[in-house]
Symmetry: C2
Subunit: 577 residues, 2 copies
């Protein structure tokens, strides 16, 4: 007859790895059919119950208690197995290397003074204390432990921010620093992509895909899943982003998170917008305002994030294939765009794309009713896009795609405005349109540019030609005519408008806000040094560092004061200056 | 001294082309410095004022009045020019061809019985009447005219829908039917992309770019800008979409519009979701729920729409590069997915992607708090994704990326459920993770599949391996082990989850709603015949058809009853059956 035997051990601390090994060793003993080695939480009791191992004593155990259940072929086998528990728990572990194991972080730091990092994977209730100690020693913290309180996370991160140190976590599963993985991490080649992730397997999936697709990383910083919540305010994410913005080796940045709190998303995206390099944003489940806003590229899955980052990284982070933006020729005071469209939806798309670049663009056909409406369609204000195909212009008059009169008149009018820097036109070819629009528009463009020049200004005219090589107008010739008159010509509204947007945004720069006072920037040079780490908790994390040829030292850690909370807090106070 | 002379003509009807020619001819007369030939609207008066041509008599003109202003070198020159107006207006127009010009649509239809289309570009107040006549004659209507009332648009489209006829417009600038452009249209090669657009220049820009990028069109249907508004309900868009869904030549569909009314967007997207072919959606300015939902691909600009359509069209419209979905092996009753994840954010992404395929997926870590929560983490319900790395599972236990025990136990448990068809697992490699997870998972997968088979079922196991070729575990070997056990293995969570989503969605088909009763489907064969059209209004549109080698007949149209509204309505009533 099979027999179930149980042993409960109260209040003792056991490393999870040791418990897994205990369960495995017990299971291999003669006459043992099944075993359960778990802490006495409700969820664990349910799991025991599913295997038929939940005896009444186990049912009565507290969450702090260790439950050891053995199901034997008979009572003797079960008892023999339980009798071995002490032996198994104290058996010398077979880890090689490291002759002397320091018992404290302080000693470890003296032994490996170049260590910039402390990896912490002790049980949650001890983790904040160890992290505080790491910060006191001036080390960045990789905080794998979960079950750390929000209050502790806030106070740790605020302290770290002041010191220019990163606290990755709590509950941070993974990071890659200078080619070396911390915690769970894939081996990813070095490259020019930097990652900040509030998601462990998100970071792993994206970084692994980046490697699979031929790309590589500078570093990938984890923040812990709670970092981008309202309470924490994304302290680590902001510091990480700021790091990659400044880091010259990083040419593309990837941000990964479950949807951040709106205020945190706002702040991060605003900072990312000024990065001066492309930022791929995968706030999974977050609905972005657009798929693209300037240098921000919003994606929906890890796969897309990796693919886009690798593609952008190939171009050394250049987002735009278009012409280079040069504002040097404009006279002081020239700063506005005037778009004179014959195509209504081209005008609409232009307005939409310009939202990425300019705070306000006025129009007689605005995107949102009543918002940024031109007071008088015939007179532009600041940055303006006019749709000349709107009803007010076409009563008893042919569509502006057929009749260029009004557009030419307006073009010359805009050219005389000393605040105008750029005029944007669409030229729609095809059946039904004017048989040779460039023959009328080109002379007007030439005249407009000459007028501005005579007044000591530089006027840029950009024309989008919509057409095909089979259209009746001869698209090539139309383009040449317009170029001959001095216009820059493209065939993609998207690209032309983005070029104009970048140009005009550069002519209207936002005020510089100066460096952030929220945190001390992380020292780039220190992060770039060969990684060395001090490990406290799950021993295999130290072994992983060594396997990656990083220097590592494992601390033979035990809960301070045998886990006695009162004593612990006295010890902590004594250590603090 | 220069002189301004003006003439006002009341209540007469003039074709806009003729007015443009009149202005141009007057401008070329000796001693004429400037001219204005406009209808007396406020906007037009403002334009005259800007040129210094707004004399008091013109200021007093009504919107129906034609204003002719001439600025001469002297009074004699201005008067001489005005005296020529009658001559210029009645001068025989120099259009070639077409010996006999019918005066009515009816006669034209008798002369060109194969005409499927009537192109209408008469002034707005006459346009509804002409369109009604076209529908009565069983023709599709291309309605270029604007200033048609919403009431007329609704009644015209309802009548057309009953008859399986398309009313494109009012204010529809462009369409391409069977390679022939109507109104304003670029010459675009034939191909396998079908377009429905509520935007004229949107259709032109996308179709021109499709051509530039090497793609081609079956047809491109315009709907008029108001079609997708609440009042009209997208009647033409729905009929057009339905046409392309049925049309075997169309392999990719593109939908372009300014943001439709939410209800219309909903209905269109629901219909598009069932198209069985990829649909590229560019509702410019609309924030889509995702960048991709099954076969729906949301883009933000015309450029992206064209590029993606061409890319998809190259694959003959196949959206998924993945494995083919085969549900034939499952036993009746097998229909559910069970996802057992070790990576929290992989689970989160899976839940998110599955929203595209399944109405509800339960989880212990749901996307939205309190929504689709698993009642008990240990027991799956219907479709379920469990995150085994959640706190409830990890107290005193190593993370499931290190310890496979729980996952294996759960895997075998799920395999015994007769309603389970697919089990999805992630296998995260790298430093820190289990040194050889497949050595433990593969035997369990094999056992699970065998168990199901023994019970007469087919169990599909899909594993996502996250890793790189430089990871310590030997990714290739891990993949082979899992495949050897009978699992389908991928390295992209996105793609694996989409495969599983399609598979499980196919096992849980929505009820068939039957064919729409809202409209009579448009006859595909009729649209595929060589295009022939009857043109009423702007004459150059007929010339364009002829230039494209389509048969066309131009109607020498005049407002019925000389524009007298009362008489017009009596005539209309007499014609209606």
């Amino acid at each position: 007859m099979t027999a179930l035997k149980v042993e409960i051990r109260s209040g003792a601390y056991y490393d999870s790895t040791i418990l897994m090994q205990l369960q495995s060793s017990l299971g291999k003993m003669p006459g043992v059919l099944d075993t359960g080695v778990v802490m006495g939480t409700d969820a664990n009791k349910d799991i025991l119950a599913q295997s038929g191992l939940l005896v009444p004593e186990a049912q009565a155990a507290k969450p702090d208690d260790l439950i050891i259940v053995v199901k034997g072929e008979d009572e003797a086998a079960a008892e023999a197995a339980l009798a071995e528990v002490d032996n198994l728990l104290t058996r010398k572990r077979s880890t090689e290397g490291q002759a002397f194991r320091p018992k404290s972080l302080e000693t470890a730091a003296e032994m490996l003074p170049e260590a910039q990092w402390v990896l912490i994977s002790v049980p949650g209730r001890y983790a904040a204390g160890v992290t505080r100690e790491a910060l006191r020693l001036g080390k960045h913290a990789f905080l794998f432990s979960d079950n750390v309180s929000v209050e502790d996370e806030i106070s740790l991160k605020k302290e770290a921010a002041q010191k220019g140190l990163l606290v990755m976590g709590p509950d941070c599963g993974t990071a890659i620093v200078n080619g070396v993985g911390l915690g769970f991490a894939n081996r990813v080649r070095k490259g020019n992509i930097g990652m900040v992730a509030a998601s462990g397997t998100g970071l792993q999936q994206v970084s692994a895909r980046i490697h699979q697709l031929g790309g590589g990383l500078t570093h990938a910083f984890g923040t812990g899943g709670r970092d981008m919540k309202e309470e924490i305010g994304g302290i680590t994410a902001k510091m990480g982003l700021d790091f990659f913005v400044r880091d010259p080796d990083t040419e593309v940045i990837v941000l990964v998170s479950k949807p951040p709190a709106p205020t945190v998303a706002d702040e991060l995206l605003r900072a990312a917008r000024k990065a001066g390099k492309p930022v791929v944003v995968d706030f999974i489940g977050y609905t972005p305002p657009a798929s693209r806003i300037g240098n921000l590229h919003f994606v929906r899955t890890f796969d897309e994030a990796a693919a886009l980052a690798v593609e952008l990284a190939k171009n050394g982070g250049k987002t735009e294939a278009g012409i280079e933006v040069d504002t040097s020729k404009f006279a002081p005071g020239q700063k506005y765009l005037r778009g004179l469209f014959s195509g209504g939806t081209l005008a609409f798309e232009a307005l939409l794309i310009l939202e990425d670049y300019l705070p306000a663009v006025y129009s007689n056909a605005p995107i949102r009713k009543g918002h940024n409406v031109l007071q008088n369609s015939l007179v532009s204000q600041e940055n303006t896009i006019v749709d000349l195909g709107e009803d007010e212009f076409t009563v008893g008059r042919l569509h502006p795609m057929m009749d260029n009169t009004l557009r030419i008149q307006r073009l010359l009018q805009e050219a005389e405005d000393p605040e105008v820097a750029v005029i944007l036109l669409d030229v729609v070819l095809g059946y039904g349109s004017h048989p040779n629009p460039a023959s009328e528009l080109a002379p007007a463009i030439k005249e407009a540019i000459a007028k501005a020049q005579a007044a000591g200004r530089h006027l840029e005219v950009v024309a989008v030609v919509v057409g095909t090589d089979q259209d009746p107008q001869d698209m090539e010739e139309q383009i040449e005519l317009l170029q001959g008159a001095g216009a820059k010509v493209g065939t993609s509204n998207d690209r032309a408008v983005r070029y104009v947007g970048e140009l005009v945004a550069k002519l209207n720069p936002p005020k510089d806000e100066g460096p952030s006072t929220e945190f001390t920037p992380v020292d780039i040079d220190k992060i770039k040094q060969p990684l060395a780490g001090i490990n406290v908790g799950v021993e295999s994390f130290a072994e992983s560092l060594v396997a990656q040829e990083a220097k590592a030292i494992h601390v033979d850690w035990k809960p301070p004061a045998g886990g006695n909370e009162k004593l612990m807090s006295i010890l902590a106070k004594m250590k603090a200056k």
